[in-house]
């Protein structure tokens, strides 16, 4: 009714970015904005509750709702102090989580990018099959691997009573968790990094060959640096996945509370209803704050990875 009224509008069709802006303008109704913000707030309220409770006095947090903060504000860092310095607190679990997550993110990057490079640029008979095979392993839920892998860590790999591979003797250490996460991450990592590496320009590789670089040299000094954007995508994925994981940590982490990551420690705290109720909020906040910071800082890479198909199958 309105916009087609003048002839000038009809004669000049908008294109590209201008058109996009025009469309957005017509669509941009205050109601849509209000609704989006409302959903955003609704999605934030639960986390906000935890955040507020973590800074309230212990008594208050345990006996009244966090919304009371707005009418009777109390502020105390006691919860954090106790959670960070007390024995059985969150400090050692936080260190453990870092100690688990960093190697479990870095090691697969190297192994997977090497494999991706070999498959993409050193093709041989059967390399397609290998790629498809690794990719197809995304189907296997890691739940299927837990018991046999645990058995391997303890007793070594035995088939029909014959020991084929001895136990690595890392039972009960965090090396076991690194290794497990590395194994479980490879199908996704190889798939993602291969797809990126395969699209690097051929001329680059050929020029390096002519200059006398070996294949391994090409990998370490050309392919690896150029693959950094894809590596960043995978790394943030893997970081969040490992940091937030409970199942693998629970199964392979042993029962020693000194070796637990934050998720396992947190799960114990929640299970002990009543015992440390007042520590739940600060401990919970400490559990989520590091992945949230990493996520917010690297959101762009995360989204890129998401759209490239890096979804743990």
């Amino acid at each position: 009714m309105t916009s087609v009224s003048t002839s000038a509008d009809v004669k000049k069709p908008l294109k590209g970015a201008e058109a996009r802006k025009a469309v957005r303008r017509t669509f941009s109704t205050p109601i849509a904005s209000i609704a989006a913000v409302a959903i955003g707030l609704l999605w934030t309220i639960p986390t906000l509750g935890l955040f507020i409770n973590s800074f309230r006095g212990k008594e208050d947090a345990a006996t009244t709702g966090w919304w009371e903060f707005f009418t009777h504000p109390t502020f105390s860092l006691d919860g954090y102090r106790q959670v960070l310095t007390g024995s059985g607190g969150m400090f050692i679990p936080l260190v453990n989580s870092l100690a688990i997550t960093i190697p479990a993110t870095i090691i697969p990057i190297f192994i997977a990018s090497m494999a991706g490079y070999a498959i993409a640029w050193l093709p041989f008979k059967g390399s397609d099959f290998i790629f498809f095979g690794i990719f197809a392993l995304q189907v296997v839920p890691l739940q299927m691997a837990l018991v046999p892998l645990q058995q391997y860590y303890v007793h070594g790999l035995r088939i029909a009573g014959v020991t084929i591979l001895p136990s690595p003797h890392i039972n009960g250490t965090i090396a076991q968790i690194w290794l497990s996460h590395t194994m479980f991450s490879l199908p996704l990592a190889v798939f993602l990094l291969h797809n990126f590496i395969a699209q690097l320009p051929r001329s680059l590789m050929e020029a390096a060959r002519i200059d006398g670089a070996s294949h391994l040299r090409i990998f370490s000094s050309i392919v690896l640096p150029l693959t950094l954007p894809a590596i960043a995508s995978f790394a943030i994925f893997q970081f969040l996945w490992v940091w937030n994981d409970l199942l693998v940590a629970k199964v392979f982490g042993g029962t020693d509370p000194n070796q637990q990551p934050v998720t396992a420690r947190m799960q114990n705290l929640v299970g002990n209803f009543g015992a440390h109720q007042e520590l739940l909020a600060p401990a919970g906040f400490l559990t989520i704050v590091i992945p949230v910071i990493v996520f917010l800082a690297l959101q762009r890479y995360f989204v890129r990875g998401l759209l490239a198909g890096s979804v743990k199958g």
Binding site: W43, L146, P148, I174, P187, L216, T263, P291, L296
Partner: protein, 338 residues
């Protein structure tokens, strides 16, 4: 132990752990560097095969050891009466574990509940994600509300369970409430709200809300990108023809991103099938809330019924296969079109 010595011992423990990490990562990269250096000396006709072996063998070895052999072993275990880890004498009992899974009333309910999760969570996650994607697509400054919905993606299931604990916690109605949901109910005039986590079947649905809360951001981002990829001309000409609002959405936007919707649905489904943390943390499967993934964990590691747990794992595996394959096919088709 005095406070000071406690602090010192904690600090030294942390130091040892982190030193171990540095050594492990450094050692790993060091070994790689040495292998690369030595192998780099090899020239001639062995250079290429050697490079292939060095690059590929670690990955192949690890997926074989960590995924292929374990998966086959689990399938094998599911036909045995194995009870605990490392048990030497086991006998094959045919399909008994599977028959048990489908006839035992408790396990049957667990399976039905898992199917409910599977139907409800993806539908709502995609629904909310789609709504949010459409809304922010029309905003001038979409990044803040978008981030607010996307943020739970970074939060662990355990963390989410703690967060939602403050929504679902229950206190006697005569006392001040700590749970937001109870308080809302009381404000709205429901003077005696139930203990949410204990009342079945409501508790199952309340826990589904947590997973929807986590997954909506993912579907918003992927669907939002797909909506952006629809050529402006298509939307514009549809609007010229008088399509707007619901009609535009239903007859233009949805058909054009159908394959993406399916991929998001199946991806959320796969996640839903495998999530055990939420139920494990909130109710540990009690009060009629158990699902396959949690039951399987306790069968394997708590109640010593490895055979039965393995059968559940295989059922999970079989349920995931068609979803993954459908997913891959859609993705590939989409790439071909682009």
């Amino acid at each position: 132990m005095s406070a000071a010595s406690l602090v010192t011992s904690v600090a030294s423990q942390a130091g040892t752990t982190l030193l171990g990490v540095v050594l492990a990562v450094g050692g790993f990269i060091g070994i790689l560097a040495i292998v690369f250096f030595i192998a780099g000396r090899v020239t001639g006709r062995f250079e290429r095969p050697l490079a292939i072996i060095i690059c590929l063998v670690p990955a192949l070895f690890l997926v074989t050891l960590g995924l292929i052999i374990p998966a086959l072993t689990t399938i094998n275990n599911s036909f045995t009466d194995q009870q605990f880890l490392g048990q030497q004498k086991v006998s094959y009992i045919g399909l008994k574990n599977y028959i048990h899974a489908f006839t035992d009333p408790a396990t049957q309910q667990t399976i039905v509940r898992t199917v409910l999760w599977l139907l409800i969570v993806p539908a709502f996650a995609v629904g909310v994600g789609m709504l949010m994607a459409l809304l922010v697509d029309r905003m001038k400054h979409p990044s803040l509300p978008k981030t607010m919905v996307f943020l739970p993606t970074a939060i662990s299931f355990v963390g989410a369970a703690v967060i939602w604990g403050y929504v679902y916690s229950w206190k006697d109605p005569s006392l001040p409430q700590t749970g937001l949901l109870s308080q809302l109910a009381i404000w709205l005039g429901w003077n005696n709200p139930p203990n949410w986590m204990l009342s079945s079947p409501l508790n199952t649905f309340l826990m589904m809300v947590i997973l929807i809360w986590i997954q909506a951001g993912f579907s918003m981002v992927v669907l939002g990108a797909a909506l952006k990829a629809i050529p402006e001309e298509v939307v514009e000409s549809a609007r010229m023809d008088g399509a707007s609002g619901w009609r535009l959405f239903r007859s233009i936007q949805v058909p054009m991103i159908r394959s993406t919707i399916v991929v998001v649905l199946t991806t959320v489904m796969i996640t839903t099938l495998k999530v055990f943390d939420i139920v494990f943390t909130m109710t540990n499967g009690n009060f009629n809330t158990d699902i396959i993934a949690r039951r399987m964990f306790s069968d394997m590691f708590v109640t010593s019924q490895v055979g039965r747990g393995s059968a559940l794992a295989v059922i999970l595996f079989i349920a995931v296969i068609p979803l993954v394959f459908y997913n891959v096919r859609q993705l590939r088709r989409e790439r071909e079109i682009r």
